[in-house]
């Protein structure tokens, strides 16, 4: 805010009889309401006075705008996006709420206010995951909501339930107002009417695909996404037998990569060793959707069986994921030694520190490994080291 100059009209208050009209109007109104009136009539500029003006020209312009055009934005209306971009369209009758722009910033063409989940939608997600015992993956595909979002919704709803049962005060009027201001994705009980909330198969752009590579290939060769991934990661060409195998049954090849990621071929030496870049089919969050589409293209008449196959693929994926999680949990359990003294409220858990190639890195200078190592200075006490925590474990 710019420095405010007192709105007291000094000479007027001292000598009220000089201009009785202005003095009364000013004394009765606050600074903003004074400028709310057209400045030319009620707040005349004092040209011959040495006292500072009550308002700068810019401020009076601002209040003029706020009281004319800006008025439209002052109060919110349900399901009307009152963004600055819509200033011209807001008063018009011809513009329905659907036609209003969702861009909050008039200059930025690339940012739109995207819909959030409505209350019913959140409740539905929570119900499907907790009561119907569906997996996050399945719910994500059904409602077209990102898997991470599904998990977050369940987590937040769980917390909300706990708060309600504890009788903690909730911000209900606030929540209602936000749901009215921001576009929302509504839940529809008919799955065909359900609008997708977001794209669920987003492929993250991999670092290796940044450079443009000129790679000559004979015209007779079928150059696929698998080959492109190998070129990007600098891996040698696949033998013809493997190429044929993949071409005959692409779904199996992809599921092998997604379900057993440790078996993916590696290239490079030492620090540079990386997995071969997999095709997009394997790197998207829901690879079995592609397999399902492939089935429905190749076997258009076996609709029911295709659906069954899809369900079994989904189940298989879930099973493998659960197994993987359990295995990591087991490994962590095995690493920790638990001590529970008899007369203690606490359980002490010890894990051994590991100084190995994984923690120190190939050159032995990694920061993860504890302890002092020759030639690796500790910057712990150096000036400018950021000490704020980097993670909060639940």
């Amino acid at each position: 805010m710019p420095p405010r100059i007192q709105t007291q009209w000094v000479s007027n208050s001292v000598l009220p009889y000089l201009s009785p009209n202005t003095s009364t109007s000013v004394s009765s109104s606050s600074s903003s309401s004074c400028t709310s009136l057209p400045s030319s009539t009620s707040c005349p500029r004092r040209t011959f006075s040495s006292t500072p003006a009550a308002q700068t020209r810019l401020r009076s312009h601002m209040f003029e705008w706020l009281n004319s055009e800006g008025r439209k934005l002052q109060y919110h209306e349900p399901n009307v996006y009152k963004y600055v971009t819509n200033l011209k369209d807001l008063g018009k009758d011809s513009m329905g709420p659907e036609q209003l722009s969702k861009r909050p910033f008039p200059l930025n063409q690339n940012f739109v206010s995207e819909p959030i989940l409505s209350e019913e939608m959140r409740a539905e997600i929570y119900k499907r995951v907790t009561q119907d015992k569906k997996s996050v993956r399945a719910v994500s595909i059904e409602l077209k909501v990102d898997m991470r979002r599904v998990a977050a919704v369940v987590r937040l709803m769980e917390m909300e339930k706990a708060w309600r049962s504890q009788g903690k005060p909730l911000a209900l009027p606030y929540a209602r107002a936000i749901q009215e201001m921001v576009p929302t994705t509504r839940y529809s009980s008919d799955p065909r009417d359900q609008r997708p909330h977001e794209s669920i198969n987003d492929l993250p752009v991999h670092r290796l695909t940044d450079p443009q590579i000129f790679y000559p290939v004979s015209e007779s060769r079928q150059f696929t996404r698998v080959d492109a991934g190998r070129v990007f990661s600098g891996a040698p060409r696949l033998p013809n037998s493997t190429v044929e195998e993949i071409a005959n049954d692409p779904s199996t090849a992809i599921s092998k990569a997604t379900q057993k990621p440790h078996l993916i071929e590696r290239v490079g030496k030492g620090d540079q060793e990386t997995q071969v870049l997999q095709p997009a089919d394997a790197r998207i969050p829901h690879p079995y959707l592609v397999a399902h589409e492939r089935d429905s293209i190749n076997k258009p008449n076996e609709r029911n069986e295709n659906i069954k196959r899809f369900a079994s693929r989904l189940q298989e994926e879930e099973r493998i994921e659960a197994e993987r999680k359990q295995a990591t949990e087991q490994r962590r359990e095995n690493r920790t030694r638990k001590v529970n003294p008899e007369d203690s409220r606490f359980e002490f858990r010890f894990t051994d520190v590991v100084v190995s190639k994984e923690t120190t890195g190939a050159d032995g200078r990694g920061h993860k490994a504890p302890g002092r190592r020759y030639g690796v200075p500790s910057y712990e006490r150096k000036k400018g080291q950021v000490k704020i925590p980097t993670r909060v474990n639940v």
Binding site: E69, G70, L73, L172, P173, N201, R225, A280
Partner: protein, 452 residues
């Protein structure tokens, strides 16, 4: 930390704030002209404009360390297209793919990924910025204050560092009272005065608690005979009055002055309390809404009207259940018809008092109105001790700034949000909320690329 985030009117600077000064600056901000200016000058103006908005509270050196030239982006994949083509179509011919004319058209229409609009993406990881983006604070400075004052938890633990960089999956939660204060309309002068008086009263009662208790007893004794007197004569009258009050509350009009509305609300609240105090069970005033409502109905001898008797009201318009829990959302007044029916019923009842049962029968809509008024009173009560104007309403000009970016999942009821992932760019869209055009952000990106 001194707040240097002024919103000067002479040079329009946009800030991460919901103030009306900022709104004014936002609507009049134009791209700086590039004609007759060196590239260095263009970059300098672009960077200073962008930095006034993005991470204004972060020192320049710190931001320079945070800056990353590697920008995250995603490409939405269509499962059908992946299934149709193994990639060989794109590499067929002489390597650039053989496309039919309509495919060429489609390829032309595909939007480019606005990478440079993501220049300030690393700052969106900061806790204070994320709180502002989740609409829990009216400015990043305020969000920062909430963090420093210990009103914010991350994963259930108090976090006092506004510069904490959120990791994907982190849940942060702000004290709902603070959020209501930050996003609600401020108190007026009269309301502040009321709050002061209420505070003084509580202080005096704390001092002379015994006396107050005695007073209360006396008051109760006074009230009780009154109620007993009142009870036989006019349950009908009370119901009538209640209904009228509920209706005026629910028919919210924009032109209504907040003070007047408040008076009405307070009257309604008092009436309800008076009725409920007649009940035998003393805990009913603190009980949940359902029991209160049923108690009210039994006390007033009100009944739900039979379906066939509904013909005179003819209320085909029944609101869905979801809306009934959103009383504030109700801007259109419940139509005048049930009101007319009700007054007719009351008139009839006064004409021939023999048919007493009929009069206290209520249609579905009327019951609904009464119930919604009750719900609103419970959820959004008048409370002069709160630091914001009560009943709560969003602050002015808030809707011009209201959007929630995709990388956050927010639950407004508990004022908690989950940072799902880092913001990404996708064809045509960027997830970093920036008020600047691509020309400014590109120049700012180029500024920070130097020496790198």
């Amino acid at each position: 930390m001194r707040n240097r985030a002024t919103t000067p009117l002479s040079r329009a600077k946009i800030r991460q704030s919901w103030s009306k000064y900022n709104l004014y600056n936002l609507q009049r901000f134009r791209n700086p002209s590039t004609s007759n200016r060196t590239f260095f000058q263009q970059k300098w103006t672009a960077k200073s404009a962008a930095r006034a908005y993005h991470g204004e509270q972060v020192p320049e050196t710190q931001w320079e360390r945070m800056f990353s030239r590697r920008i995250r982006s995603v490409v939405p994949m269509d499962a059908t297209r992946l299934a149709q083509d193994d990639g060989s179509i794109a590499s067929s011919g002489r390597g650039s793919g053989i496309m039919s004319p309509w495919e060429m058209e489609r390829a032309k229409k595909e939007k480019l990924t606005p990478f440079t609009q993501m220049t300030f993406a690393p700052l969106e990881r900061r806790l204070d910025t994320a709180i502002f983006r989740a609409l829990f604070a009216s400015s990043t400075r305020q969000a920062r204050q909430f963090v420093v004052h210990g009103a914010v938890t991350v994963n259930g633990k108090e976090m006092r560092y506004p510069g904490y960089l959120l990791n994907p999956g982190d849940m942060f939660q702000v004290d709902p009272e603070r959020v209501m204060f930050a996003t609600g309309a401020p108190k007026s002068k009269a309301e502040r005065r009321e709050g002061r008086i209420a505070r003084q009263k509580t202080e005096t009662t704390e001092e002379g608690e015994e006396g107050a208790a005695e007073e209360q007893k006396e008051g109760k004794e006074e009230q009780k005979p009154e109620a007993e007197e009142a009870q036989p004569e006019d349950t009908r009258e009370t119901l009538k009055g209640l209904m009228a009050q509920a209706k005026t509350i629910m028919s919210k009009e924009k032109s209504d002055l907040p003070a007047k509305k408040k008076q009405e609300l307070r009257g309604f609240q008092k009436a309800i309390k008076r009725v409920l105090s007649r009940s035998e069970s003393s805990s009913i005033l603190n009980d949940n809404l359902e029991s209160q409502f049923s108690e009210l109905m039994t006390l007033l001898k009100a009944k739900r009207v039979e379906k066939k008797a509904d013909s005179k009201g003819k209320n085909t318009e029944s609101q869905p259940a979801a809306e009934s829990s959103e009383p504030v959302a109700e801007t259109e007044a419940p139509d005048s018809r049930p009101g007319q029916a009700l007054t007719e019923a009351f008139q009839k009842a006064t004409e021939n008092p023999a048919e007493e049962v009929d009069t206290s029968e209520l249609t579905e809509d009327e019951l609904d109105t009464l119930k919604r008024a009750l719900i609103q009173m419970r959820d959004n009560p008048i409370d002069s001790t709160k630091p914001y104007a009560t009943p709560w309403r969003p602050r002015d000009y808030m809707s011009a700034f209201a959007f929630i970016p995709r990388y956050l999942e927010v639950n407004q009821n508990i004022c908690a949000a989950v940072y799902l992932r880092h913001p990404v760019a996708r064809p045509g869209f960027s997830e970093v909320p920036s008020p600047f055009s691509e020309s400014i952000n590109t120049a700012a990106f180029a500024w920070y690329l130097r020496r790198r």
